[in-house]
Amino acid sequence: MIPLRRLLAAVVIGLLGAGPASAGFLDAYKPPVDISKEGHRVDSLFYVTTIMLLVLFAILSYVLVVSSIRHRGKSSHHVHFHRGHATRDLTIAAVISASIFFVVDGNLLYNSYEDINDAFWNYPTEGDLTRVQIMPQQWAWRFRLPGNDGQFNTADDIVTLNDLRIPVDKQVIAQMQSADVIHSFFLPNVRQKIDANPGSVTKMTFTPLQTGDFEVVCAEMCGLNHYKMRAEMKVLSTADYARWHEEASFWALSGFDEEDAEAHWGWDWEANE
């Protein structure tokens, strides 16, 4: 049996030593700035889990190092003959594993459950929303916002290439499909991604809280130029967005070409999707 006192010592060493050291590392390699209302859920869950796992890892390293040094063949200590077959041994192993499960895994499960039900997979159907349709293709992002009529798939739709503009502080709901192969709509600053599949509609929702230019990334291997399938997401202030939207909708209507089938890739908004 590994004595309890030493285990506790290992926990303390883990917290004092590995913790701050790794925290320093994690700080240098932290994710890009979180601009969303929901992103902190991922960050805090990651950090809390990391601290707990560092403790476990410290214990593991302690056992490996100490037994490798202290229990080498040359030392004359008595070999601890123990099969570990007794009910007591199994009970101890089961209790340790169950504790780890309930604390570490349990925390992940509980928070993930909350996160997806309250935020990530909780898609709004009504209210004041920024609705956007996305149709990626090899190797570009096409975005579609409704014009002044508020309807998709009409003549005043604002269609942009690799340039998504949305207003700040307003929940976004995106629906997407793919024109060819599978792509994945990844917003590092929002901590979310969702695949865009040919033939079916997937969704993502988030609320941007910060204005500025951020990157849109394709996270699913989609062929030769996958690596540069990049778009800009411009989060604008409410006033800036309204001004841009008014203008863009006007130009969209005046430039609309009934014959150009390629440009009419939008679909009717799937309200209950």
């Binding site: 077959h85 041994d89 594993s97 993930s112 991604k193």
Partner: protein, 594 residues
């Protein structure tokens, strides 16, 4: 069969090429796997060079490999490199080395059998694998290039919509063939363990190596047929224009579903990661005990824990698909199931730590590599939790965090486990010892660089670096990660360099190494009951087994003056062979073949 009655010396072709002897087939798989490991490893180094120096010519070999671009790796070649690296390492390195080679060599010898139960099937299994490797390696050289869809080959990219070349089709055929080879091997291993155990050897007297290989074989037999089916459908889509997967997109009319492929792929794909790691777990569970000179702590619980992981591995695959738009019910179910699989894994991991604690550890090379497995698997196993949880996975999926995690678990742990086993069984394999000093340099160089490479990837992944990217400098939010990319590349190249110590050691020892004693590690499992070189039919007489494989420093046997007792030794106080056989219900196997 009897060892001598029908024995006639086969000719060169019968002995070295179309051999039905499990030991020769193990050697054939070893060579195939080492070639795969070398090719796959060199591909990894080319990728690492490109990541640290995008657009710069590869030194030394660049002009030879990429003459059209002046030695620079072009983006299409890069895509082909990461596809082929993954495929080759999984199906043509780990599979032949840990399953083909160790499975063939260890199972019959460790359970006291004269050969596999189906020697002809065994031979066919190798030659199917050889045919598969012709298709796989050949696919690189055909016009339009090799497969370039990632090892997962998701449609519609992997159909003619994305990759119309012949190389991709050859890749599909190669996966189907190597799968067929695996199934043939699996049927053989499963049956051999059930039917041909030495008299007196109950299931819980088997070495844990045999447990690991047996559970792997069961998973292979159950789940490789699923990927084979997916490959057949993908082949039809590519060659005959069906639309099982290639549908829905604007360029194709039809009613197929690319997501269906992902389900099929991962129903196989998740058990596959356990297929790859279970043999290493088994080997390590044994070696930690052998070299700590202590019984494997909680042997039965370890065996049952590995069995529990095997069963659960069938129902966790959905965690690969959290970002595909999976229904919340499915997502949550797979999240819970995935977390549950950590419990049995933790239990036998604790058993490993208990085994080495207060032992009398002999720090020979096999032990060093085994401790290395415990270390890297600890790191890799813990980081898996972030990917099982939907919240964190939505961010980390398809980033370098995933790359770091699965390399630590199924690549580094599997290969370190392979090296542990190879250093350990090499004397049985060849009658000669591998050099210990070169082995220790090999270990030290490997473990340090492995830790830097894959922990570096974990950090980059957390910083948001996505995978399968030819040039990360395209993205402003990844610019500050370039120094870490450089560190990883240097460590990866150093890791490659340290493998040269193994290559030298391997060839020198194979032909001119120090002659091995009969039982160099003083271990009592059955492969050490037979002489070197191993006679035809393996054993003079099939031994009767009296005890489990890990009898070290048992106070009851202190009077023997050594710290180990063999499984085949009948000591005072043991039952008679007849009584032992009656109590374990394992009689001598009937003549299964001749």
């Amino acid at each position: 069969m009897s060892a001598d009655a029908h024995h006639h010396e086969p000719g060169f072709v019968g002995k070295y090429i179309f051999s039905m002897d499990h030991k020769m087939i193990a050697k054939q798989f070893l060579w195939l796997g080492l070639v795969g490991l070398a090719v796959g490893g060199l591909m990894a180094m080319l990728m690492r060079w490109n990541l640290a120096n995008p657009g710069e010519a590869v030194p030394l070999v660049g002009n030879m490999l990429f003459p059209d671009s002046g030695g620079v790796i072009p983006p299409d070649a890069y895509a082909s490199l990461f596809t082929m690296h993954g495929t080759i390492m999984i199906f043509f390195a780990i599979t032949p080395l840990l399953i083909g080679c160790f499975g063939n060599f260890c199972i019959p010898l460790m359970i006291g059998a004269r050969d596999m139960v189906f020697p002809l099937l065994n031979m066919l299994s190798f030659w199917t694998a050889a045919l598969a490797s012709v298709f796989m390696f050949g696919s690189i050289f055909v016009p339009l290039g090799g497969a370039a869809s990632g090892w997962t080959a998701y449609p519609t990219l992997s159909t003619n919509v994305g990759l119309p070349g012949l190389g991709m089709t050859m890749w599909v055929v190669a996966i189907f063939l190597i799968g067929t080879s695996s199934i043939m091997g699996a049927v053989n291993y499963i049956t051999t363990v059930i039917r041909l155990r030495a008299p007196g050897m109950g299931y819980f007297d088997m070495p844990l190596t045999v447990w690991g290989l047996w559970l792997t074989a069961i998973l292979n037999a159950l789940f490789v047929p699923v990927i084979a089916a997916a490959m057949v459908l993908l082949f039809f889509d590519r060659v005959f224009g069906t639309q099982f997967f290639a549908a829905g997109s604007a360029v194709v009319d039809g009613t197929g579903d690319p997501i269906l492929y992902q389900h099929l792929f991962w129903i196989f794909g998740h058990p596959e990661v356990y297929i790859l790691i279970l043999p290493a777990w088994g080997v390590v569970s044994d070696l930690l005990s052998f070299f700590s000179r202590k019984p494997a702590y909680g042997y039965k619980i370890t065996a049952l824990g590995m069995t529990a992981v095997t069963v659960l591995s069938a129902v966790v695959y959905g965690h690969h698909m959290f970002s595909t738009g999976l229904s919340p019910l499915l997502g949550q179910s797979f999240m819970v199931l995935t977390m549950i699989i950590s419990v049995p894994a933790e239990i036998f991991f604790l058993n490993w730590l208990h085994t080495i604690w207060k032992g009398r550890i002999r720090m020979a090379t096999p032990m060093l590599f085994s401790l290395g497995v415990v270390f890297v698997f600890g790191l890799g196993g813990l980081t898996g939790l972030y990917l099982a949880s939907i919240s964190t996975d939505l961010y980390l999926h398809d980033t370098y965090f995933v790359v770091g995690h699965f390399h630590l678990t199924m690549a580094a742990a599997a290969f370190l486990g392979f090296f542990a086993g190879l250093y350990y069984w090499f004397p049985k394999f060849t009658g000669r010892m591998l050099n210990e000093n070169l082995g220790k340099i090999h270990f030290a160089g490997s473990i340090i660089t492995i830790t830097i490479v894959f922990c570096g990837m974990l950090l980059q992944g957390w910083a948001g670096m996505h995978r399968r990217i030819y040039d990360h400098s395209v993205y402003t939010y990844l610019q500050h990660l370039a120094p870490m990319t450089n560190i990883i590349t240097h460590s990866a190249l150093t890791l490659g360099f340290f493998q040269l110590f193994f290559v030298v050691n391997f060839f020198r020892s194979w032909f001119a190494g120090e002659k091995a004693p009969e039982n160099p590690w003083q271990v009592g499992t059955l492969e050490w009951a037979t002489s070197n070189p191993i006679p035809h039919g393996n054993f003079e007489h099939i031994p009767v087994v009296f005890r489990g494989p890990h009898e070290f420093n048992n106070p009851d046997y202190a009077h023997l003056g050594r710290d180990w007792v063999a499984q085949w030794e009948q000591l005072p106080g043991d039952p008679s062979p007849e009584e032992r056989i009656a109590s374990t219900h394992v009689p001598a196997p009937q003549a299964a073949h001749s």
